[in-house]
């Protein structure tokens, strides 16, 4: 039996060998990596592993406890599904980026110290950006750069926080922090940016829909969930998170209703779902943390399933806007069914996975007597059904007939979606195995009680009734080709304003400097040094010539000739020697 290695290494080193494989062997190798990783993962003992001395500090590359383990499991699982889904991709860069990205996420989750945590955290950004850029359109290139800049900002905040924290405490251990002092606020902010908090969220809705079809599956799983993990580790029970989370569940659904790009609708609902997790972490009771983690687990599956079904539609039709799609159930029935399973799961229908995890957060809020929060979460639950549960499948697969009759998704995509769909239903119907993996095993939660099932079903069915009536009456906002402004406006337009202001103010200084120093001063110094001797000599000679009675045109001619002769060095040797002799005599006389 070989000793286990840090989980991140298998993916990251494994990724680098991918280009050496070809054809079927490559597919087999890609699928083998997460399996190997999983076998490795379950053979790691709990506790701190791989403690490496670095300078004066100890790096912990494998802190294995119940919180990190469950994220480790789901990250391996979703890597397998996402790789299976992307087997048709011929571009090695995408495979490598996806694997390094997954590996970095595992590195973040198992890091026990701030240093290795930060390194993996930044690798997440760097690897994920290639999943956006490899779509190779101008929109994806631009969105990728914005994504990079935003994450670089967040990363720097985090780094600043870590540096201050290490300076103050002298320890680089990554554990519970709580909000106290500048360092913790900076770290909190750095986590929050990756978590897509309100106003900090627009990198997500901007970039994810521009990523490659398969890249989005990876993206939807890792960055935000790593941030959720980090918050659960360092800031459980932080009250600010309750409200941040509740607002996150609320505001994206309004955008999702009017958004045309169906993958962007899913990106908004991703924020909405992460809101439930953030809220749960903020509440901080054992039930709430369990709920948040369980919901992260389920969300990775059903959100990937939804993105996969939309990706399959995009793969077959080349379109993703609600205005262009419709009626695809005719020829893509399996994709349609898988999409509806994902939709039912995210909407938390009884017997589907969202139900058994979201309700834990709701009940934790109710248990803490948080009325406002509870109402907001319930509103968001109805709203998410509305936009992700109904809108996505309806506009893609039903609605008006777009006339397109694309083929069913390729087999490997169907299997990937099938696995995810099966897990969504399995976890929803038999939550026991998932519950047994949660961080706090002492919580005994029963999701299936008669009033709970009935209440949730009523909520969803009457939301559906509202949708039906609004659609039939024509009030439901039709899909439109348009851009909806969001918080990214501030930096997308703001950057242009900044550019213009900088252009006007700084370039003005630039051009003045150019005129005065480069063209003016430097020029005159240059001219001077070129003909200073000629001018001095001319000065002496002219007075000499005037004394000899030379004047008028002849004087001018003599001046020009002499000047040119000196500049071109074509002076008769006699005059040059004479000048030198005069010079020597002068020196001799004067000293």
């Amino acid at each position: 039996m070989i000793d286990p290695v840090p989980p991140a290494l298998i993916f990251i080193i494994g990724a680098l060998i991918v280009p050496f494989f070809k054809g079927k062997l490559k597919s087999a190798y890609l699928l083998f990596l997460p399996v190997l990783g999983f076998v490795n993962l379950i053979s790691i003992p709990e506790g701190n592993n791989w403690i490496v001395g670095f300078l004066d500090y100890n790096l912990v590359l494998g802190r294995v406890d119940r919180l990190s383990l469950i994220f480790g499991y789901i990250f391996h699982l979703i890597s397998f599904i996402a790789i299976l889904y992307s087997l048709h991709v011929k571009d090695d860069l995408q495979h490598v980026a996806g694997l390094v990205y997954a590996g970095s996420a595992l590195g973040v989750v198992f890091a026990g110290d701030f240093f290795s945590f930060f390194v993996f955290w930044e690798m997440l950004t760097v690897a994920s950006i290639f999943l956006i850029w490899t779509r190779r359109t101008k929109a994806s290139l631009d969105a990728g750069y914005r994504y990079l800049l935003v994450h670089a900002t967040g990363g720097l905040c985090l780094l600043a926080g870590i540096v201050i924290h290490v300076n103050q405490t002298g320890s680089i251990e990554f554990g519970y922090m709580g909000l106290n002092g500048l360092a913790s606020y900076l770290i909190f902010f750095g986590f929050g940016l990756n978590c897509a908090w309100p106003v900090l969220h627009s990198w997500l809705t901007d970039a994810y829909p521009e990523a490659t079809i398969t890249g989005t599956i990876f993206l939807s799983a890792f960055t935000t969930k790593c941030a959720v993990y980090a918050l659960a580790r360092a800031f459980p029970g932080t009250e600010a998170l309750i409200w941040i989370g509740a607002i996150m569940t609320g505001f994206p659904i309004f955008y999702a209703v009017i958004e045309n790009d169906l993958r962007r609708v899913l990106a908004y609902s991703l924020i909405n779902q992460v809101g439930f997790m953030v809220c749960g972490i903020g509440i901080g009771t054992h039930l709430a943390i369990n709920g948040a983690v369980a919901h992260a687990f389920n969300d990775i599956l059903f959100k990937a399933l939804l993105f996969m079904s939309m990706g399959a539609v995009m793969y077959r039709t080349g379109k993703i806007n609600g205005t262009d799609l419709g009626g695809l159930y005719r020829t893509m029935p399996l994709t349609c069914i898988f999409c509806m399973v994902g939709a039912a799961s995210i909407s938390a229908f009884p017997l589907f996975s969202g139900f058994v995890s979201k309700s834990m957060v709701m009940d934790a809020a109710a248990g803490g007597h948080m009325r406002g929060i509870w109402f907001l979460l319930l509103f968001a639950s109805a709203g998410v059904f509305h936009h992700a549960g109904i809108k996505i499948p309806f506009f893609a697969f039903f609605s008006h007939d777009s006339g397109m009759r694309p083929k069913e998704a390729p087999l490997h995509m169907l299997i990937a979606m099938g696995i995810a769909a099966f897990l969504c239903i399995f976890i929803g119907s038999f939550p026991g195995p998932l519950y047994s993996l949660l961080p706090y095993p002492d919580v005994n939660y029963v999701p299936y009680t008669a009033p709970h099932v009935l209440g949730q079903t009523q909520l969803l069915f009457f939301s559906a009734l509202a949708f039906t009536l609004l659609l039939l009456s024509g009030i439901y906002p039709g899909e439109m080709r348009c851009v909806n402004l969001d918080a990214d406006w501030f930096y997308r337009k703001g950057a242009r304003l900044f550019y213009r202001v900088a252009d006007r103010s700084l370039n003005w200084v630039n051009s003045v400097c150019d005129r005065v120093f480069v063209k003016g001063l430097a020029g005159s110094i240059g001219r001077l040094s070129r003909d200073l001797t000629a001018r001095i000599a001319l000065l002496i000679l002219v007075s000499f010539w005037i004394l000899r009675g030379v004047s008028g045109k002849r004087l001018e001619m003599k001046k020009t000739n002499f000047y040119n002769d000196i500049l071109e060095g074509t002076l008769p040797v006699g005059i040059g020697a004479g000048l030198a002799a005069v010079f020597i005599v002068l020196i001799f006389v004067l000293t």
Binding site: I258, G455, Q458, F462, S463, A466, R481
Partner: protein, 89 residues
């Protein structure tokens, strides 16, 4: 219904191409709503909050929430944030 006139390529009919099937689906849906409302009388509730015990609270809340959501998104948010597709170009 698209009816291919040249005969050899008859447009295939799918499940919801028939208005009858759509109607059937809708009536099943409405019936299930009614059943859900009725079941509530037979379920013993143990609410966290007082209003959870009110009659048909979840049904009303779900319906109202979605109407509010759509109306607010359509009449308030969309006029505020909608721009041409090439706005950022």
């Amino acid at each position: 219904m698209e009816n291919a006139e040249n005969g050899d390529q008859k447009a295939k009919e799918y499940l919801f191409d028939k208005p009858k099937n759509v109607k059937l689906l809708l009536s099943c849906f409405y019936a299930s709503l009614l059943i859900l409302l009725i079941i509530e009388f037979f379920v013993h509730k143990h609410p966290h909050f007082a209003w959870e015990g009110w009659l048909e609270f979840y049904a009303v809340y779900g319906f109202v929430a979605c109407v509010v959501l759509v109306v607010a998104a359509k009449y308030i948010l969309r006029p505020l944030v909608k721009r041409r597709e090439d706005y950022y170009d």
